[in-house]
């Protein structure tokens, strides 16, 4: 007795899944509201650039030269200078975090600024946040070099500096952190929909006993899995479209590669995420455990170990090796490349191949682990 009606069963499963997604506020929240919040948060709220840093300027003996130097700080968008009279006052302000750094021009500034042995200015930076500390240091340096340049130009002679650094920043010339955060957050969103949501909805079927009722119908394992994969695949691609549209239109992130590569690679990643979500729910069968596991093995790594915020190259070797088993890592490389650099095939091929291998791996395990039995 071979069974026909496979299409009818599959259609029934998919229709049911859609109705459930549309009627369940928590699915909508995870699929649409959470991505929007994440995008807005990372697009507007989080910035790794230091801008308008409050900076104490202590000028002990103001004159023509100090005026022209401090003017550089007032013109820069990176600083919000706070003029102060004594270094003690400035140090108190730094301790109370009123300012994040101090530039101190001593009384002998005007006389000694070109002498090699006497440092003409002192810079004190709050190093609690090492990252922004380094940034402030760099920006102050920049203002100083620029001013020296100008001075040399005015006095008609070349500056006697041994090496001059010519800086040029490719792919993200304005060095906007938003330009790489927004593509990166897409990986997190796809993980949310693919792994977390899928893990939740299937374990819910076990918990509410609907799975047992499904298993005794003539529906096959393949139909059950497809019935789950297809709707959430479509939902995930919908989430992607929403995110890409917001990235391009709201946050004005450039897309230098092609849409085809972007969507093709995203589909591969989504299949991997779905595979993981299905596997988690098959093994745990309990919403609470499934959510915990999904967050720990898919969501957090997508955040921390994918290179989306924290640079993989600067991680310790052990953790760097760990990132090779994180699917989001490959996807984030592709995303950042496609958005900011273009279709660079030497980056895309190996990463896409890794994603395809992982997708196959997870889906194959799910197929083996899912049986029409309760034991």
């Amino acid at each position: 007795m071979r069974r026909g009606g496979g299409f009818m069963r599959l259609r029934g499963m998919i229709r049911k899944e859609w109705l459930q997604i549309l009627r369940d506020p928590s699915s909508i929240a995870i699929a649409f509201v959470l991505p929007m919040i994440l995008l807005l948060l990372f697009g507007y709220g989080v910035s790794l650039d230091a801008k308008h840093v409050p900076l104490a300027l202590v000028v002990e003996k103001p004159d023509q030269r100090t005026m022209s130097f401090t003017a550089g700080f007032y013109q820069s968008e990176y600083f919000r200078p706070v003029p102060m009279h004594t270094i003690q006052e400035a140090e108190t302000a730094l301790r109370h975090r009123v300012v994040d750094g101090i530039v101190w021009l001593r009384a002998n500034f005007g006389r000694d600024y070109l002498k090699k042995d006497a440092p003409p200015i002192s810079v004190i930076v709050n190093g609690v946040d090492a990252n922004s500390g380094r940034l402030i240091q760099g920006y102050v340096q920049g203002v100083w070099v620029k001013w020296l340049d100008q001075q040399a130009l005015e006095s008609g002679g070349a500056l006697n500096m041994p090496v001059r650094v010519e800086q040029r920043i490719w792919y993200n010339p304005e060095v906007r952190s938003r330009n790489y955060l927004v593509p990166g957050i897409i990986a997190v969103i796809m993980t949310l929909i693919g792994a977390l949501l899928t893990a939740l909805v299937i374990s819910r079927e076990w918990e509410r006993g609907t799975m047992e009722a499904l298993l005794v119908t003539p529906v096959s394992v393949r139909e059950i899995l497809l019935g789950k994969l297809l709707p959430y695949f479509i939902l995930g691609m919908g989430g992607l479209t929403l995110s890409v549209a917001m990235a391009l239109l709201v946050f004005e992130v450039p897309l230098r590669g092609s849409m085809a590569v972007l969507f093709g690679c995203s589909a591969l990643f989504l299949l991997t995420a779905l595979g993981m979500g299905l596997l988690i729910s098959t093994l745990s069968r309990n919403q609470f455990v499934a959510a915990q596991v999904a967050i720990i093995v898919t969501f957090l790594p997508a955040f921390l170990l994918s290179g989306f915020i924290f640079d993989i190259a600067s991680m310790p070797a052990g953790i760097r090796n760990l990132t090779y088993i994180i699917a989001a890592r490959y996807y984030v490389s592709i995303l950042q490349t496609v958005f900011l650099a273009g279709d660079v095939w030497s980056v895309i091929w190996p990463n896409a191949a890794a994603l395809a291998a992982m997708a196959l791996f997870f889906l194959a395990i799910v197929r083996r682990k899912t049986r029409k039995r309760l034991d």
């Binding site: 069963r9 109705l19 003539p218 039995r373 309760l374």
Partner: protein, 583 residues
Amino acid sequence: MNAPRPVIDLKRVVRTFTVGKRRITALKEVDLAVRPGMVTGLIGPDGAGKTTLMRLCAGLLTPDSGNVSVMGLDAAKAPLEVQASIGYMPQRFGLYEDLTVAENMALYADLQGVPRARRAVRYDELLDMAGLRPFMGRLAGRLSGGMKQKLGLVCTLVRPPKLLLLDEPTVGVDPVSRRELWQIVYRLVEKEGMSVLLSTAYLDEAERCREVVLMHRGQVLGQGPPDSFSRNVGGRTWFVTAPHVSKRRLQGELARRQEVLDALILGRGVRVVTLAAGDPGAWLPDIEGIRAEAVEPRFEDSFIDLLKKRTETGDGGSTIRVRRPVEGVQGQDAIVVENLTRRFGDFYAVRGIDFRVRRGEVFGLLGANGAGKTTTFRMLCGLLPISDGRCLVDGVDLRRAAARARARIGYMAQKFSLYGELSVVQNLRFFSSAYNLKGKRQRARMQWAMTTFGLEEFADTRSASLPLGYKQRLALSAALMHEPGILFLDEPTSGVDPLARREFWVHINALAEQGVTVLVTTHFMEEAEYCDRLVIMAEGEVLTAGTPEETKALFQKPGRAEVTMEDAFIGLLEARRRKREAA
């Protein structure tokens, strides 16, 4: 005689499960044949192996050894073929709560491959049968418990199966819906010639089956028509009354006799099953006016008969003793409830109810799920604020001094609410210190609990792995640590097998005899008989209050058979519905 081929045939089936490090045998060499064209009842307490057996038949589990044949097919080797010809409704049927009735039906029609053209006719039949037609557009999650169960059955039947497996379809369903479910099952057997295997923990449902399979601890104790079981106890069932003695004392006296197998309070007297033929009235000549009349045996009697011969339980008496005389002014009511109301938004969970519980009384709160029993209970325990009305526990107003009132009550929650990871001793120590018991007194109370409830042998066992009956004892002893004068029991015996249930009531009766007031909720209608007085609730209101006899008398017509508590309950609900329709 050439018997028709059985629809289910089990041969020496063994199935074990591993839970943690322990190996549990769910089925021990079970042989069973289910005959076609009738309702076969699979009856036994929780943990008997009913669900495992059902799942084996549905091809959801494979046996460790032995052979499961369903409709002539091997369920282990060809589960898909078996599933294509049977209907199976699991204990918690998987309705999609955010789909409507119609959508749930369409889903199962798709999954079962019912051709589109044939659906309309089938839907019509099923909807009429289940009375769900007016609710087609309603979300399944918004249906009442009974309607959900009927919808589950309808979904199982969209493609008419030849064999229907129903796993405890009537659990947690109110008596009215329970009756309707049975009517549907009968019609299926009559009209469609279906064979039905139905499992249940309610012993009174046995009498509704053509054939009964009695299971206990993974074994089949017997199989046959229900009256064949009752015949075993023929001539040994009595109804004993004594006008000058409380029924509880009478029950205690009878239960202590060697010759008595079972003594159960029923109405104004005690129902007795004896070990051998003989008049129990003659055994207690000291009791003035004692009278015993022979009564018809019931299925439950034979069940107890079969079980008690196998399992060794203690005698029927209770050694429970209340050390401290029960406090409180004599004659003052232990619990006074006046116009008690609880609103959730604009929904009234409890609507202006009144009742009084006298000291030393066993008082019952009866009602289907959602009737407002648990809400009332929580308000009485001070766990839920009162919206309106007044509520005195031991003379203390709950609105003013909930904590003081709480110290005088013992509470046993519906689910096992002790710490499963802690041992018996650790649980007792924790609960006694939670009630401020320290030092010598704490040790004395713990010792009391261990000896009274026979917990010594399990002292260091993890509570989660205790047998169900012992969990029940432990929970009761934890509630009694601080010697409360009032005891609250929320569905104390649901899911407990009849033996453990009897034993539990023996303790409760002993407590009541010594002046402890007991307030109990239950959906077991026969347990209502143990109460001195009771109220029946529906939709947050009290329908009737009185003794069990008074309640039943409302529906007793002269010359008709004696009504049961369930008849009275259904009668009250129907009267209410008629009144509402008329309005």
